[in-house]
Symmetry: C2
Subunit: 139 residues, 2 copies
């Protein structure tokens, strides 16, 4: 079986605040959007932001607040971590943890998107990111 | 800025039940593991399963149950959806929704991993998956 994740779908309370965070904060462009979902073509998988009630009904479970996971976006230089955290906070994000160095090195901070989904913004010099955005484990 | 997700990290209560689900259920191989985290090299990003208390402390937020998001693993044929759901349920997963056809076509069901993280197992003939596991939006 391919070691493959096809989609990450985040529950959102409304599309507009989420769209502002991803389009104006991260600077990403949707590949598809309608009245209930927005898709972004990512590095080999899709990121979806979907109205939470519809999404929960589709999965056959009650709507639940976000928790228990985090996404990370790695940047190519330590100096890029803080500016991106600030830019995301300026577009509806909420800083959870300011940037500092974790025990394994590098630099990272955390910001929650408008629906509480945690994003780690990290510089990790041990992990390579190629020109396609493909991230490879390194130690 | 690259439209890129580097890591998806899932909070886990203990490593062993989660490892069984991913290694024996999905058939994936860890690229790294220690006493608090297991990493899997995925299609251009990393999947991490990390002890929830440590993860929450790192993110500067209280530990929270899983909710508000889902991951998807797409398979190449409709006939592959149900067997994978059953295999995952046999390795510690819990079926949330049996496989059926969503309004947009294809076939999908949902299974929760041992920590409640929702996985959609889907056949979506509109989205291509190449030999590297790279998933591309199609409509």
């Amino acid at each position: 079986m391919q070691q493959q994740i096809s989609v990450i779908t985040l529950a959102v309370a409304a599309l507009a605040p989420s769209r502002r965070f991803y389009v104006e904060g991260f600077g990403w462009r949707p590949v598809f959007e309608n009245e209930e979902i927005v898709f972004y073509q990512m590095n080999g998988l899709m990121l979806g932001t979907w109205l939470g009630a519809t999404m929960a009904a589709d999965a056959g479970r009650p709507p639940t607040p976000s928790g228990g996971f985090a996404l990370a976006h790695n940047v190519p230089a330590e100096a890029a971590v803080r500016p991106l955290l600030r830019r995301l906070a300026a577009h509806g994000g909420r800083i959870l943890r300011d940037a500092d160095s974790p025990p394994h090195g590098g630099c990272r901070g955390y910001v929650a998107d408008p629906d509480g989904h945690a994003w780690e913004i990290a510089w990790n010099p041990a992990w390579t990111i190629d020109e396609r955005g493909w991230v490879t484990f390194g130690s």
